[in-house]
């Protein structure tokens, strides 16, 4: 590094490269391909106003919607061996780690924090997917263990929010061992009579799903989230069949009895506060975030639907209309 690389290069870069800023103002929804203005996207916590697609949330935006008054405290996690196996594929694992650190500003793929939700003390361990696909290595294991210990210490419920492709291959067997490790950690929370809630977000697969992420007292999922053990491609290659529509999506898991509920992002805070209050026999102290107009309207519509159904019993030969409309169709009143 010298003054040349420090000062001159960025200026030249700016001259040479096309400016990126205008592109970032509009975001293309991966699901419906509609363009969404960035401010609108931030306001809706990265839920597409057109099709209700729940985009992945950076971990701190996630915490913002959950904690009261957007306030929380993050805890420092114990450090781990940086590259225990000296793993190298096409790239060194240590280099991949460095890149991920500088890209995300996080030490690893998990952030452990505590604060209040509806006035109730909670500990939240949330994954950062953009850090090496949220993969679970020893650092993530350390995070879950620390979160569990903190929850026990504070006698607070534990909420874990995975967003992970699974185990971190570059840590080999040590990452596999994190499955057992995290299982013990969350079990200890449950043994203390403290609620352990898992909020499954897109994607939750592999070794993460097959350990702590499926052991919640209550399993909540975000709409459309991919949740499963084996990857869709692996399954397709194994069975040589195309997969059913909506396979491994949150709604599919709900239908198959694998999660308790699928909750829209705009209702997450409220639903979790309600759950915690009920499990802990407490009235949430802080005012519950008011229902947004969307929720109320949707509920009214559901009631109307029910009335209509009662008036005219369903004819199985006619496909159910509601199957074809996505939940977000009434999202126009969000503006």
């Amino acid at each position: 590094m010298n003054w040349l690389t420090n000062f001159v290069r960025p200026k030249i870069k700016r001259l040479v490269q096309p400016r990126e800023a205008p592109d970032n103002l509009w975001h293309k929804c991966q699901s419906c391909s509609e363009m969404v203005f960035h401010r609108e996207l931030e306001k809706s916590f990265r839920v597409c106003p057109h099709c209700d697609h729940h985009m992945r949330l950076p971990v701190r935006q996630r915490l913002e919607i959950l904690f009261d008054n957007k306030k929380w405290t993050e805890i420092e996690l114990p450090s781990v061996a940086a590259d225990p196996l000296k793993f190298k594929d096409k790239k060194k694992y240590s280099d991949r780690l460095k890149e991920a650190k500088s890209k995300t500003g996080s030490k690893d793929a998990i952030v452990v924090s505590h604060g209040t939700m509806g006035g109730i003390n909670v500990v939240i361990a949330a994954f950062e997917f953009s850090f090496l696909g949220g993969s679970m290595g020893t650092a993530v294991g350390e995070g879950i263990v620390a979160a569990a210990e903190l929850a026990i210490l504070q006698e607070a419920p534990l909420i874990v929010i995975p967003s992970s492709g699974g185990a971190r291959m570059q840590e080999g067997i040590l990452s596999l061992m994190q499955m057992a490790r995290t299982t013990v950690a969350v079990d200890r929370v449950r043994e203390k009579g403290l609620p352990y809630i898992v909020l499954l977000t897109d994607p939750t697969t592999g070794g993460v799903t097959a350990s702590f992420a499926m052991l919640g007292d209550i399993q909540v999922a975000e709409p459309g989230a991919i949740i499963g053990f084996a990857g869709a491609r692996v399954i397709e290659q194994t069975i040589r069949e195309t997969l059913p529509e909506g396979f491994q999506r949150a709604e599919y898991l709900l239908e198959h009895g694998m999660v308790d509920m699928v909750v829209h992002r705009s209702k997450l805070h409220e639903s979790l506060v309600q759950l915690l209050g009920l499990l802990l026999h407490r009235d949430p102290a802080a005012p519950v975030l008011s229902l947004d107009s969307v929720g109320r309207k949707r509920r009214r519509r559901k009631k109307e639907d029910a009335d209509r159904l009662l008036a005219s019993p369903p004819d199985p030969s006619i496909p159910d209309e509601s199957l074809f409309e996505s939940e977000g169709d009434d999202g126009s009143d969000k503006s």
Binding site: P78, S79, V80, A81, P84, L85, F87, K88, D89, K90, G137, T138, G141, E142, V145, A167, M169, Q170, E171, G172, I173, L174, S175, L176, M177, Q178, M179, A180, R181, T183, V184, A185, D187, G206, G207, T209, A210, S211, F212, A213, M214, L215, G228, F229, A230, G231, V234, I235, T238, I239, E241, L243, P244, F247, Q248, Y252, H256, G257, M258
Partner: protein, 317 residues
């Protein structure tokens, strides 16, 4: 005998030996001497080859079609074995064998993956790849053993849990997670032996023992070398390099303190002398079981949990 790619010279020698044996009647003494000479050379070659197998070669040995499987160990080590079937929810899964029997005079619950030996049995046992029912059966049997104070032995040998539509729909991930949870909570001794392939989540579901043993040429990994190569190298042919990088051999895992002991195999691998292998495995299990039976149930559980919650923790902090 099925020969592996790196056993070519040994295969040739053994071919010669069997040829000579056919002629021995005709030519008398010289041939017997020659056979003995060749046999000692085979022994020497095997010793040399098997003492420095690469991780990829070990992977092949671990998957050797003639390698003793779960049912073979049960047949050799467990008397009065009574298989117990079903998860009481959905179905029986033949990929996981479970049942009670007597190991050296003592009641034990045995659970393990069975890969099958020929086309018919491979299909029956689904190549040792269990569905959620298999893990739920395992869980049920572990709880049963816990209730009656019966030690649990697990024999791990699987490429992984089965990736299929039905398996996902019925909660493969949850079934594995619960199996891990249950095995960590047992108040009876749990001894796990990786006898061949310890493939990822499907393996650890049965492998969180107080004592985890690995056969000398078995492997245990978070992902198969092929899978790892196709994801990280984007080239399935790099499996050899992936096998090196993953540190999946018994010796690596012993060094990393993931397992408690390596069980020696006869020269040339378990498949060359199955009886000796059963003996070694049986003796090692017995010795550890004796120690574990001295420990009180709550302690067994606590120690097992403490051991696994510390895995990956920086030791010098």
């Amino acid at each position: 005998m099925h020969f592996l790619e790196f056993e070519k010279s040994i295969a040739e020698l053994e071919g010669k030996i069997s040829e000579l044996r056919h002629m021995s009647d005709a030519d008398g003494m010289n041939i017997a001497e020659e056979v003995a000479r060749l046999e000692s050379k085979v022994d020497k070659d095997l010793k040399a080859t098997y003492s420095k197998l690469s991780p990829w070669q070990k992977t092949q040995v671990a998957r050797h079609p003639d390698r003793p499987h779960c049912l073979d160990y049960i047949g050799a080590l467990v008397a009065n074995f009574m298989p117990l079937a079903g998860d009481r929810n959905y179905s029986e899964d033949h990929a996981i064998i479970g049942g009670i029997g007597r190991f050296r005079g003592r009641s034990v619950m045995v659970i393990g993956q069975e890969k099958g030996r020929d086309t018919k049995t491979r299909l029956k046992h689904n190549f040792g790849m269990a569905r959620p029912e298999g893990y739920r059966k395992a869980r049920r049997l572990m709880e049963l053993a816990d209730r009656f104070g019966i030690p649990v032995l697990t024999f791990v040998d699987t490429a992984g849990a089965y990736p299929g539509i039905g398996a996902e729909e019925r909660g493969q991930a949850e079934a594995i997670a619960r199996s891990i949870e249950t095995s960590l909570n047992l108040r009876v001794p749990l001894i796990s032996v990786i006898i061949g392939e310890g493939g990822s989540g499907g393996a650890i579901a049965l492998a969180t023992g107080n004592i985890v043993l690995m056969l000398e040429h078995s492997i245990y990994s978070v992902i198969s070398p092929e899978g790892c190569a196709s994801i990280l190298w984007r080239d399935g042919d790099q499996a050899k390099a992936a096998a090196e990088a993953l540190k999946l051999t018994a010796q690596d895992l012993d060094r990393l303190s993931i397992i408690d002991a390596v069980v020696q195999e006869p020269i040339g691998g378990a498949h060359r002398n199955a009886q000796a292998t059963y003996q070694n495995v049986g003796d090692t299990i017995e010795q550890h079981l004796k120690n574990l039976l001295e420990v009180e149930g709550g302690q067994l559980r606590a120690k097992r949990r403490d051991k696994f919650i510390a895995m990956g923790r920086l030791s010098d902090s």
